[in-house]
Amino acid sequence: MRYLRRLYGAHPLHLVVVLGCLALAGHAALGTRVNPGWMLMAIWFAVALVAHDLVLFPAYASADRLLVGTFGARGVNYVRIPLLGSALTFALFWPGIVRQGADTYLAATGLTQEPYLARWLLLCAIMFAVSALVALVNAARHAARRR
């Protein structure tokens, strides 16, 4: 058993679990052979991974470093938090904001996606305004304590 462990690099049960995983995932992938097509599914899986790990992550990490450099440890969160809120809502609700899928939207709801961009901008403005207000209050309290 110890020899097996050395050879494989983990307990044999590890092998059972991982092979089970690959078998199930492979079986599911087989199910997509005809519809929607395993190639197309694989491309979307790969694009999702690359977009998150090699595009989104480096982008937001660099942006965050830039923010910390610009606003300093004390000020950065007043920008970082509303920015995170804006980015999160944009990431989740961008079809409406950029009006993608307008035809299916209209066919389903009988409405257009016209209001979303303005609503999202307003939401961002509110988040930044609240953050600025909190920053002001904190600065005032800080100044008062110093005096």
């Binding site: 979307w44 440890a73 709801t109």
Partner: protein, 449 residues
């Protein structure tokens, strides 16, 4: 795990067979890879990752389970759940119940709502472990190589499910393939990765959670935040070599992620809870108001899109009841109105995660079944006048036909149905998926088998 053998690195760091190969790989480190000084977050560490991990471990099974239930609610035994052919991934099938009437509202609301709310947690979890993606050597043994492969199913799976789900609830079919099929098989890939990851990492996560007290952590402000202690022998540590000064405490990071989830909850709960909360879903299709008349609630297919004209719903409208008799029973609006009427308050709930509760009036489906000569049908097949589209017809199981609140509704909130809501008659039944609440009904075939 920290046991060392003759002064060598601990077991986790050991190389498997063939050792020279893995060691050679380790020596070929490309610039930027590995535990470099570029990773500077002072709060990354096993404890923080374990906290995000335990939240997902508890909540994601609920998303998975409700998703699979939604598939079953569509009635795979009638070939109307997609994908129709699931191969070996066939779920145990049963007749979807009609009680409680809010059952489907609950399962789809939880699936979509919780799925959305967990997006910030998933993002945070991925952020917390991202240095491992760039670890070098990427693997030290066959075991690690296989485990890394399973992570493709885990991370690729959750990202794929989030992206397709988020696009679907906003009617954005930019991906160009069948949503149901892709989301179903994608889910199984994710389930494979999730179960494996949970099984292999559970002890590690529990150790991580025990390494610090959550209650104590919640009292540590930014000024006292220091990195988690790094075990120098742990080759998989997430703790930075050269941590930057903290700009957020660990409790602050948890608050930011929790705040993100709360924000998403506020922006999405209204589309299924409705009432005063509905307008809060400002960025989703189902937070919108159609006005405040009796017929002013959510529509999921306009008459124009369905090819329905007002004439088709006018005096010339006929309902055909089929039951295997040589001459079918044909009813017009007046004869339908002459039958006993029943009123029920029922939700109209869609798999896209929105719902609305209305008061419906019409003829009981079981009365129509009796009229057609099959008082206890095994199922009923409903057809619509609607052209094009996958949902111009639906099969209801026996329970869905015979429930006393299952109606061929002709009125809602005391007013005749509007054309957009399926005038002159539509199906509404407790816990029935919205897509099977067929509008503009043309015929109902009651079946003995």
């Amino acid at each position: 795990m920290t046991r060392t053998v003759r002064g060598r690195a601990p077991e986790e760091a050991a190389y498997g067979f063939p050792e020279p190969l893995w060691r050679a790989l380790a020596r070929m480190r490309p610039p930027g890879m590995g535990r470099t000084r570029a990773w500077r977050s002072p709060i990354r560490g096993r404890w923080l990752t374990s906290v995000f991990g335990v939240v997902l471990l508890v909540s994601l099974p609920l998303v998975i389970l409700t998703g699979l239930l939604d598939y079953l609610a569509y009635g795979p035994q009638f070939g109307q759940a997609f994908p129709v052919h699931t191969g070996g991934l066939r779920l145990p099938q049963f007749d979807w119940p009609t009680r409680p009437s809010w059952l489907f509202r609950l399962t789809q609301g939880l699936h979509v709502g919780l799925g959305l709310v967990l997006v910030p947690v998933v993002a945070a979890k991925l952020w917390s472990v991202v240095p491992r993606l760039f670890a070098w050597p990427p693997v030290r043994s066959a075991a690690q190589a296989l485990e890394r492969l399973s992570l493709l199913a885990l991370v690729g799976g959750i990202l794929f499910e989030i992206v397709t789900g988020v696009l679907n609830i906003q009617y954005d079919y930019v991906f160009g393939f069948d949503f149901y099929t892709a989301h179903y098989f994608g889910a199984w890939v994710f389930i494979a990765g999730f179960v494996t990851h949970a099984a292999l990492k559970l002890p590690h996560m529990l150790q991580g959670l025990r390494s610090r007290s959550l209650r104590a952590e919640l009292r540590i402000p930014l000024s006292e935040t220091v990195p988690e202690p790094a075990d120098p022998a742990d080759t998989e540590t997430l703790v930075a070599l050269d941590p930057a000064a903290p700009t957020v405490s660990r409790r602050g990071a948890l608050a930011i992620v929790g705040g993100g989830s709360l924000l998403v909850a506020v922006l999405s709960a209204g589309q299924t809870i409705g009432g005063v909360l509905r307008p809060a879903a400002v960025l989703l299709p189902r937070g919108r108001s159609y006005g405040d008349g009796p017929n002013d609630f959510q529509i999921n297919r306009t008459p124009v899109a369905a090819g329905i004209t007002p004439e088709m719903a006018g005096d010339g409208w006929r309902l055909t009841l089929l039951s295997g008799r040589p001459v079918p029973t044909v009813l017009d609006v007046a004869s339908l109105a002459a039958m006993p009427q029943h009123t029920a308050e029922l939700p109209l709930a869609c798999v896209e995660g929105w719902s609305t509760v209305q008061t419906w009036t019409g003829v009981r489906l079981r009365d129509l079944a009796a009229l057609a000569g099959i008082p206890e049908p095994a199922s009923a097949h409903v057809r619509s006048f609607e052209r094009n589209g996958a949902f111009g017809q639906a099969t209801l199981n026996a329970g869905q036909v015979l429930d006393p609140d299952s109606l061929l509704a002709t009125a809602v909130n005391g007013e005749p149905l509007s054309l957009a809501h399926g005038a002159p008659a539509r199906i509404i039944a407790p816990a029935l998926p919205g897509v099977h609440c067929t509008k503009w009904v043309s015929s109902i075939e009651f079946r003995r088998t």
